[in-house]
């Protein structure tokens, strides 16, 4: 069957002028809703024109044309929200890197069982005394503090064999003094060793803002200090003369670099664990005490909040 154009389809059921008209019964059964009202005697052309006029004048199905979807309020609002959000994110992402206060936590905590006495750690009756002279900005001191000291604490301090004492030898610049002062102020709240560990965990460079007041204060919060009390101590500057004096004492003892370590008054040739452990055992043996290393403290046992 051939395809028929829609406007011509109706013709097949309409009565042509030359065709016999349909019977009234048949017409009644099939209402001619789509047939134009044209006189049966009109020519084909006239009927076509009438049909065109009718179709041209026929109102559209909906009175108002639908706007395209992209013009809908929802689409416009969505687009606006996305553009503003992305623009804001891009602008914020491009801001110059301000001094970040992102802090790194110390790898290990100060063991709970270690006896504290200000800037000393260990029993007062320990036969071996280890004195370390350090500058907080010194990278080698950082290595000693992060890698060697925890082992000394777990192997000898907890066994009662060793007592550690920290001494300031601040000579690398103003931030060395700032960090040392901040640590002493933490010591007034019994948190010197935790605070010192936080300092060494976050040291980088010298006098580059790594130990700015903001960062030192942030570390105070991380170490669980009373911020107001710490701030009063730090800003008051009461600890700075003590740092200067202690540094001068270090000079007098022959300290000229950091870390410098003395074991029972004997200068250690190296801050490595092996050298220090040997010196500690020898000193303990000389003092007649057992210097066998004990198992390290269980992970997580610390006084750090």
């Amino acid at each position: 069957m051939a395809c028929v154009r829609p406007e011509r389809r109706g013709r097949h059921v309409r009565s042509a002028p030359d065709e016999p008209t349909r019977s009234p019964a048949l017409s009644a059964q099939r209402p001619n809703r789509n047939r134009p009202a044209t006189p049966p005697s009109s020519s084909r052309r006239e009927r076509r024109e009438a049909l065109r006029r009718e179709q041209g004048g026929r109102p559209a199905r909906s009175s108002t044309a639908k706007p395209p979807a992209w013009k809908s309020p929802i689409a416009l609002i969505s687009a606006l929200a996305v553009v503003v959000a992305i623009g804001l994110i891009v602008v914020l992402g491009m801001k110059p890197g301000a001094a970040s206060v992102d802090l790194v936590a110390p790898l290990s905590d100060v063991p709970v069982g270690a006896v504290r006495d200000g800037r000393s750690l260990g029993a007062a009756t320990a036969p071996v005394q280890l004195d370390s002279w350090e500058d907080i900005q010194c990278p080698s001191c950082g290595v000693y503090s992060r890698s060697v000291e925890p082992r000394l604490i777990s192997d000898f301090v907890l066994a009662g064999t060793l007592k550690l004492t920290y001494h300031d030898f601040s000579f690398l610049g103003p931030e060395s003094f700032d960090a040392a002062s901040a640590a002493r102020c933490a010591g007034e709240q019994g948190k010197f060793w935790e605070y010192k560990d936080w300092l060494y965990a976050n040291q980088k460079g010298e006098n580059e803002g790594r130990f700015s007041r903001d960062r030192l204060e942030a570390i105070a919060l991380k170490a669980g200090l009373d911020k107001a009390a710490w701030g009063a101590c730090y800003d008051g500057g009461s600890t700075r003369q003590a740092i200067t004096d202690e540094t001068a004492r270090g000079h007098a003892l022959g300290v000229d670099s950091t870390p410098t370590i003395f074991v029972n008054g004997q200068l250690a040739p190296s801050p490595s664990y092996e050298v220090l452990a040997a010196l500690i055992r020898a000193a303990a043996d000389a003092a007649g005490a057992s210097a066998s290393p004990v198992a390290s403290a269980a992970p997580g046992t610390s006084t750090t909040p």
Binding site: I74, I77, V84, A98, D102, L221, K222
Partner: protein, 152 residues
């Protein structure tokens, strides 16, 4: 639930977001750290440089955002104002993108998760979902939302 009553739910979510951000704002301005409980991530996030924008705590912007969502959602719920509904929808979409960015910073830059921030993000996302559903429901029903509840 009808589309207009969704406004009540969105308002509740906005209120929850406002409470969270108000707490974080007060803590930040006091120079303290938010309570983290066993999770320490919120401290790291609070102390990071990303906790402020132009020197203003991010929580302040969050509080303003949530307050605005709360007001618009209430307007939509009580008055059936479709403009308020559309504004809630638009703000929610903006909010989702921004909290997604902040969450990215937490996970991949700061490497910490702040439970308060996660809670706030949940209120933003949930609020937008409610608004989007209400927009769709009120739009397909043909009602503007002002003439009454739209049966679901």
């Amino acid at each position: 639930m009808t589309a207009r009553r969704g406004g009540l739910l969105a308002a509740v979510l906005g209120g929850a977001g406002l409470a969270i951000s108000a707490y974080l704002t007060s803590v930040k301005l006091a120079g303290e750290l938010p309570v983290c409980g066993p999770l320490k991530g919120c401290e790291d996030v609070a102390l990071s440089s990303y906790s402020e924008i132009l020197g203003i705590p991010v929580a302040v912007f969050g509080a303003g955002f949530s307050a605005l969502v709360l007001v618009l959602a209430l307007a939509w719920w009580r008055a059936g104002d479709r403009r308020a509904l559309l504004a809630t929808y638009g703000l929610g979409l903006f909010g989702i993108l921004f909290v997604a960015y902040l969450t990215y910073l937490e996970l991949f830059v700061i490497h910490a998760v702040c439970v308060w921030c996660v809670g706030y993000a949940v209120t933003v996302v949930a609020g937008w979902i409610v608004a989007a559903w209400a927009v769709r429901a009120s739009g397909t029903s043909g009602a503007s939302g002002a003439s009454g509840d739209t049966a679901r």
